[in-house]
Symmetry: D2
Subunit: 330 residues, 4 copies
């Protein structure tokens, strides 16, 4: 069975998903919906697919599933529209910046018996999957401490920051999801610190660029998350999990696996500089997992509920920064 896709939005992340669909056997890209005419033409040229309106996609017989890559403030509406149209829905994170709006959308998904997968591609990275398998095989015993380091090479544009919901909801949200995935237990307490260190303009927009978070579960397992919006050496993405019998860690990806030795020392190349090159395999695996879940009629591996939980943690982290208190989730 081939799952026939429409991608809504041909921006950066829309192109990533279109490319992923093209590389996955069992998935086919039928159409892209993109209001910007130049972007639409470029997408048609690049992917050899049709250009349709969103509404056309919703009623099309030759489309089984959509990937929602439009601006965040449209996600919840589109989820509701396409679930009602009986399409399988894959939505980029976050579902919405507002927790109540997210819950409302999930209610519609449930009422319609729809399928919603939320895009947390890191769970599908081959190295992170190998790390998770090591944990699941019991090789490090009981998980006790998770350490997540995520550093972006540079900040997004100010225009994006303004509507992003802030660093916790835009960037750390991926780490919150990874934390839940690896801790294997719901988080009950959030402590966070946040600063503006790389660019005062980010502070003037009401956001932060440098944050640390401690998460604790009911049984006392802990996770720390370190995020910054600037790393001169590339896109820094590391995981370390410490358990009762040992630890497991995943290494960064470099531009090339070479090393140059000179009088200055031993130099390895910087890291891959962009989430799109770093997570190529993850995006393809993610679409393949969605297609497989649809084919098998099983729940997708990352659900709307996962999207809601990660957003709750982001909201709590911000509250912790504002109040100086550990925030307890029920």
């Amino acid at each position: 069975m081939i799952l026939r896709f429409a991608v809504l939005g041909a921006g950066r992340i829309g192109q990533v998903h279109a490319r992923a669909i093209a590389s996955v056997p069992g998935a086919e890209l039928v159409a892209i919906a993109e209001p910007n005419e130049d972007a639409a033409k470029a997408a048609r040229a690049a992917f050899g697919c049709e250009i349709r309106t969103i509404d056309d996609c919703a009623v099309a017989d030759d489309i089984d599933a959509v990937v929602i890559c439009t601006p965040t403030n449209t996600h919840a509406d589109l989820i509701e529209q396409f679930v009602r149209a009986k399409k399988k829905v894959f939505c980029e994170k976050p579902i919405d910046l507002d927790l109540d709006r997210v819950r409302q959308a999930l209610d519609v998904v449930n009422a319609e018996g729809g399928t919603l997968m939320v895009g947390f591609q890191r769970r599908f990275d081959p190295d992170f999957m190998a790390l998770k398998a090591v944990i699941d095989e019991g090789k490090i015993g009981e998980v006790e401490m998770v350490t997540l380091t995520s550093r972006d090479p540079g900040p997004p544009p100010y225009e994006y920051i303004k509507v992003s919901g802030g660093i916790f909801r835009d960037m750390t949200i991926h780490d919150f999801d990874v934390a839940r995935w690896l801790l294997g237990e719901e988080i009950i307490t959030v402590q966070a610190a946040a600063s503006v260190l790389t660019d005062p303009e980010i502070g003037e927009l009401g956001d932060y660029d440098s944050v640390n978070v401690i998460l604790t579960t009911a049984s006392g397992k802990q996770c720390t998350i370190t995020n910054t919006r600037r790393a001169t050496y590339g896109y820094d993405q590391r995981i370390e999990v410490h358990g009762s019998k040992g630890s497991v860690s995943a290494e960064n990806h470099r531009e090339a696996n070479i090393e140059i030795a000179t009088a200055e020392g031993y130099l390895r190349p910087p890291l891959l500089n962009f989430f799109m090159s770093r997570y190529v395999a993850a995006y393809a695996n993610e679409i393949a997992a969605f297609a497989k879940a649809v084919a098998d009629a099983t729940p997708p591996p990352t659900t709307g509920e996962d999207g809601l939980k990660a957003l709750e943690l982001a909201t709590a982290a911000l509250a912790s920064v504002k109040t100086g208190k550990a925030i307890h989730l029920e």
Copy 2:
């Protein structure tokens, strides 16, 4: 311009090339020629291409180029047939086990003004290309010593060994080509040692499984090559180049970039276990380079002459083992 390909032979390496062609924009797989009916059907299913005879491919108007992946003893004949049929020819190494037959085939290519590229995929590996770029940029100064380590996870089947021409012509030939590429100067002396250490049956077939070679150029640059037919930890492929200002090395590729720490120590996964997974990108880059050379009407980056030179070195290495002497090439 799209280069339309036929692949001759749907064995292991034929499938590698078919897959590479499918992944390269600017290349299209039209047909596969494969006498074994089951293999032919499998290839058609996998690659969605036609099955034709070799002779049909030679005269087809919708085929611009062939990739020769048939048994070695047919390579020279097919090169001549397809060059005369005005097809662009990509041939897996070696052109032939016999130096004179190789020279004869190259004469035909030259007489016909044909295009022949020989498959030395390592030159197209992204890491090795990055290593070569470091040398070309002068970062390690003048090249003085090249160290090549190539270890196969296990030996090929006895049936293959019998017709392979021996380890120097079958396995080391890749290293001979890499040595020439990196030394940047023709080799004039070959010294070699060879043993049977992994399986006495290999010795009874007249071959070796463990060899070391020293190559020297006119100006005194040296290269050592270490080959074995058994490595429990995977497919070991390393290059180190030492120069007047420093060194550059390329690392192996692992199954996953993770590390597990326990009371036993710090464990990283074994290496990718097969040339087909290790060199996926190299095979795609190689076909892309061939397509580009055809499009640009430039000589291909690895020529029939390169194939001949590597075979001369392999022949000299065997002579060195047999005579206990350094063999001088003119």
Copy 3:
């Protein structure tokens, strides 16, 4: 000039310092004071020094300096006694578990114009010194984030835990000092989480075995500290400092710098398993720095004030765990 030492207390850490003194040119071990007769005899045999009482050491003309390695609850009294006796004083951390008692002792040191160095040996580890030099040379720009990972192979005996003052004052105190050293700015906020994950008995003693701490300075620089009392793979001691122009990190020390490759993968030995083997060079450097400060009549590199500040941070961390609030220091 040779600085003539008495070591007070011949327990584990007393022996470390006795050995350090023996290895430092410019330092000489004259006497050890140790009430336990067997321990005293062993020390005399090992170090070839005299055994004296503490009071004898205080009045001896042939002793210039003492290293206080007695139980924590005697530190403050001994500091006062020896400072008044005009001896140069080196005291193991902590000065006392009670902040007021520490301040009182420091007042005596100041009133007497005495010299007091507190034992934070990590500042004298060659790798950590090299890391600090990289920061001081500006190679990573402005320091923004410090990440400290300290994991003990196993917990100390219950008897020790009872009188240790808890994990923050016993173990994390070293990290608090390193944080202050590397941030280059006083810390104003402490957030901490603490759990019992390795042994419930530790919880019954009122202590924790797994903690995470976030420290923030006035300008918004942050530091995270991760501590656990169990690491199967050895004594885990890592530092990473992230700055505006780059990062610098210090690696762990292994039992041997070898790697074994088999079908299981690539295995490096576990870490050195004990602070005494890991920090051999640091302890020697520390005593040398103390001797040099005395010879040069300069303040020692780690002062009583440093001891006080680290204890304040430990006290704040515990308060943060108890109250669930970020604790602000003035």
Copy 4:
């Protein structure tokens, strides 16, 4: 029992051994013999020992053992003198540049029932010992291939090169000994290549600066040795042993175990730059092993015979370069 030493010669290597003796419990430095008055004074100041003549050392009652660190052309005479004087003898490599003179000296040692240890310190390096233990425990199965990489940061002075006996007898001799130690089987064939690449003056002195050697044992095990007299990145000392079940390798030692990440990439410091800093522990272990062999009345771990065998390999390597033939040893 304390072994009382005299060191003959207070040059660079003499000082290394004097320092090693001082650091070894069970060894005591009584005297140094050094004709150069300034050097003698410096040694007395540094090591607090007496200065005596060689002949005085030979007859002294308070000296049990000598370490011969004088110029090579005096080694054989001094071995004979001190063995006859019933002193235990430790001699720096080589015993002599002439094979017959070496055999003559060994005959005297045997006739006198003397103890002679030859200085091949690499066998006592902690990492190389750990590597050897891995082999001895059978973890990599049967040894098949040994790869030795030894690169000096720079060449010795011309004056030294003139009397050194050439690179094979001066530098490679250490690798020949390590090869014999790790192969566990005598070598029967030597093939070598040699060039002058770093400094033409070295060639004018009749020596080489860049060599590769292949050694083969009777059962077909092989070893390659790579030597150069210039490495901008420090003193490069690596061992890799490949066996039927896996491989084991020993890593280089750096100036510090840190890594700096910037836009240029990830930089680790260069290697320790000198054999004296690289092999500090090896020199101490070597003297300790000598003292232990004397105390236990067992043969020393590296005998005069080992010195002879390594020199035979060096001589054969030179012959291979000169004749272009594989040299067979009986």
